[in-house]
């Protein structure tokens, strides 16, 4: 696992999840044997030289054919009928853009040389040239360029004899590697002014047992003596004064990911950005001891109840990769259980705002008093039609998008745009400077 400090947990998650296909298991393969291209070329040179020598009665052509024909004399028939191949990835779960390796172990090939040719999946980069495997062992580098749960590709195992005349080929499916969306950069968090009565790390308005200084009040029986503020006591004529501290609370954060459309340049589609942003937000809020939940909006709703801690981070990412489990047509958030949608939770929405039903869902959320902030991840626009009709259509489309955002703004739903390249802290800056208000209409 690539996450420092979370390797044991990652192993646990990996053990509980579906095991990636073929991981570490030996597979018996039957190579298909045939004459190598090298042998065919030598045969062509030798036979052509002999034929020309006979036709033209020129002995030098027979001499020219001699080396090729002698090389062909090394043909052997004892090719292995079965080999065992094992593909073992060094990490089964990585983030986008990270490199890992697949260790290949081939046994049963005897004295034959082993070469490996990787035919990688389109979003996977691996060795472009054949990789030699001395003693049947090789390490194939793998670079995942896009998030997803998909097979890595296939590996063609080529066996060659010492004289490179016979060639056996077998194909092994490489194990699956889960690639998590690369978290965007986010260090700041949005804080609500009303926090639920749950222990956390955010200083609340209420007094409590935190560490942040809250004020001074008169001593009442039962107060701890160590909290007596002696300078204040002296100033108040000897009446004992004690320090009060702000309570520390945590908040509920719901990440609402709109996965209903995937348009634009591959790797920078709204879905890509939404997932990267959601992972970044989950990481940032979990690091602040908040409870984070996930709701994915696609052809239906799927949700993960809010939780906290390191383990929950992996649950969220696994839920993102797994996608919706059911194909329910339920779009309304009202039917979600209370545990999945706690009242007063802050809702961070990652959406391109292209689905009108989703916009209605946001309106409903706001009317229920939640603080809702939309991170607009749309960075593409229709551009296939050229000419005046296309320009008119694009203009109409832009106006429609502006109208949607304006209506959300009027409802008190903040909308910020994120291009996926800059830090998420930048668009969120107006909301992270002060505590945000929930359960009241108005901007933010």
């Amino acid at each position: 696992m690539t996450a420092p400090g979370g390797q044991a947990l990652a192993r646990e998650v990996a053990a509980r999840a579906d095991p990636p296909g073929g991981m570490g298991r030996s597979t018996e393969l039957a190579p298909r044997w045939g004459v190598s291209a090298h042998a065919r070329r030598l045969l062509t040179l030798g036979l052509a030289g002999l034929v020309i020598a006979v036709i033209t009665r020129r002995a030098e052509f027979a001499g020219a054919a001699a080396p090729a024909l002698l090389l062909l004399a090394g043909w052997r028939r004892d090719q292995p009928g079965r080999i065992d191949a094992t593909a073992r990835p060094s990490a089964t779960r990585i983030f986008e853009g990270e490199q890992t390796a697949i260790e290949m172990v081939i046994t049963g090939h005897g004295e034959y040389d082993v070469e490996l040719v990787v035919h990688a999946h389109e979003s996977v980069e691996s060795a472009r040239y054949p990789v030699r495997a001395p003693a049947g062992r090789a390490v194939l580098p793998v670079l995942m360029t896009r998030w997803g749960r998909r097979p890595t590709g296939i590996c063609e195992i080529i066996l060659r004899d010492r004289w490179r005349l016979a060639e056996g080929r077998a194909v092994l499916a490489l194990p699956r590697i889960d690639c998590y969306p690369e978290p965007a950069e986010q260090h700041t968090t949005i804080l609500l002014n009303r926090l639920p009565n749950r222990l956390g790390e955010h200083p609340a308005r209420a007094t409590g047992e935190g560490v942040e200084f809250g004020g001074v009040r008169e001593y009442v029986p039962g107060d701890r003596q160590r909290r007596i503020n002696w300078p204040a006591t002296t100033r108040r004529g000897g009446r004992l004064q004690v320090n009060t501290f702000a309570a520390e609370r945590s908040q509920d954060v719901l990440l609402l990911v709109d996965a209903s459309c995937d348009v634009g340049e591959a790797g920078f589609t709204p879905l890509d950005l939404a997932l990267r942003g959601a992972v970044a937000a989950a990481r940032a809020y979990l690091a602040a001891s908040d409870r984070v939940g996930l709701i994915t909006y696609q052809w239906g709703l799927s949700w993960l109840s809010p939780g906290h801690g390191e383990r929950h981070f992996f649950k969220i990412v696994e839920a993102i990769l797994a996608g919706p489990r059911t194909r329910s047509r339920e779009y309304s958030l009202e039917r979600l259980p209370r545990s999945a949608f706690p009242p007063g939770a802050m809702v961070l929405v990652f959406s391109p705002l292209l689905d009108q039903r989703f916009v209605e869902t946001l309106r409903d959320l706001r009317e229920r008093g939640h603080f809702v902030l939309v991170i607009d991840v749309l960075n593409a626009e229709p551009g296939s039609i050229r000419g005046s009709i296309g320009r008119l259509g694009r203009r109409y489309w832009r106006m429609e998008q502006q109208a949607i955002r304006f209506s959300l703004h009027e409802l008190g739903i903040g909308v910020v745009h994120w291009d996926g390249r800059q830090s998420l802290d930048l668009p969120l800056a107006p909301y992270t400077r002060r505590a945000q208000t929930s359960r009241r209409r108005g901007r933010g």
């Binding site: 420092p4 291209a37 052509a48 020598a53 002995a59 027979a62 001499g63 001699a66 080396p67 790390e201």
Partner: protein, 236 residues
């Protein structure tokens, strides 16, 4: 605000170091195979090391191309007739197309699908055609026929035979990205074959005592017999 337990992505330098360590393989198995891995591991972080296998392969491809071109030129020289020019064009075309096949690894060519552009589909189709055609065989055959169109010049033909063999070996090394040392087991056979080549050329240079059909045929038969004897006598 950041709690150490919650995972964060590793910095680029650490990831590159980890990838380089992975490329070396467990218990140091197979340093030769670590080269392509190191190349990928280099990636954008370490561009210097990423070129090593590509450069080695480029050298092999260039060697194959140079040898192929030299064979064509050597066999064609001096090209006088139209037939010889046509054969030269065929041989050179085969060498050039084979060079393109070698220079473009199969994994680098994406598969065209129904949504690909015409250019991508044409490129994919042309590349598939080039991979299927026996281009190196065609080049060797054309060069031999081209040589046969010239009057007898035994030493010239002998050198062409040696060059064609080197061309085929270089082509094989380039397409399999294998180092030249994989040919070491074949050295005895190569030495014996070159000896037979010299014998054949020498026999052809000897003046015939009785010029005619029988004399030429006997020389050819003697050369073939020598090849068979050599193959049987080789300690394989």
């Amino acid at each position: 605000m950041k709690r150490p337990g919650v995972p964060h992505r590793r910095p680029a330098a650490e990831r590159a170091k980890r990838a380089a360590a992975l490329a070396g393989g467990p218990d140091g198995a197979g340093q030769a195979d670590a080269k392509p891995a190191a190349a990928l591991a280099g990636g954008p972080d370490r561009p210097g090391q990423a070129d090593a296998p590509a450069l080695a392969r480029a050298r092999q491809v260039a060697a194959a191309g140079l040898l192929g071109g030299a064979c064509c030129a050597w066999a064609a020289w001096p090209a006088t007739g139209a037939a010889q020019t046509a054969l030269l064009v065929i041989a050179a075309g085969c060498v050039a197309a084979d060079l393109m096949r070698l220079a473009t690894p199969e994994a680098a060519v994406g598969m065209a699908d129904a949504f690909s552009s015409i250019t991508v589909r044409l490129w994919s189709w042309g590349y598939g055609l080039i991979r299927q055609l026996p281009l190196a065989e065609g080049a060797a055959l054309a060069a031999l026929i081209l040589e046969a169109t010239h009057p007898s010049r035994p030493w010239h033909t002998g050198l062409l035979g040696a060059a064609l063999l080197c061309y085929l070996l270089a082509t094989h090394l380039a397409e399999s990205s294998a180092p030249a040392r994989v040919l070491r087991p074949q050295l005895p056979a190569l030495a014996a074959g070159l000896g037979l080549l010299i014998l054949g050329v020498g026999a052809a240079m000897l003046p015939a005592t009785a010029p005619g059909l029988g004399s030429g045929s006997l020389r050819v038969l003697a050369a073939v017999a020598a090849i068979i004897v050599g193959a049987l006598a080789l300690p394989l």
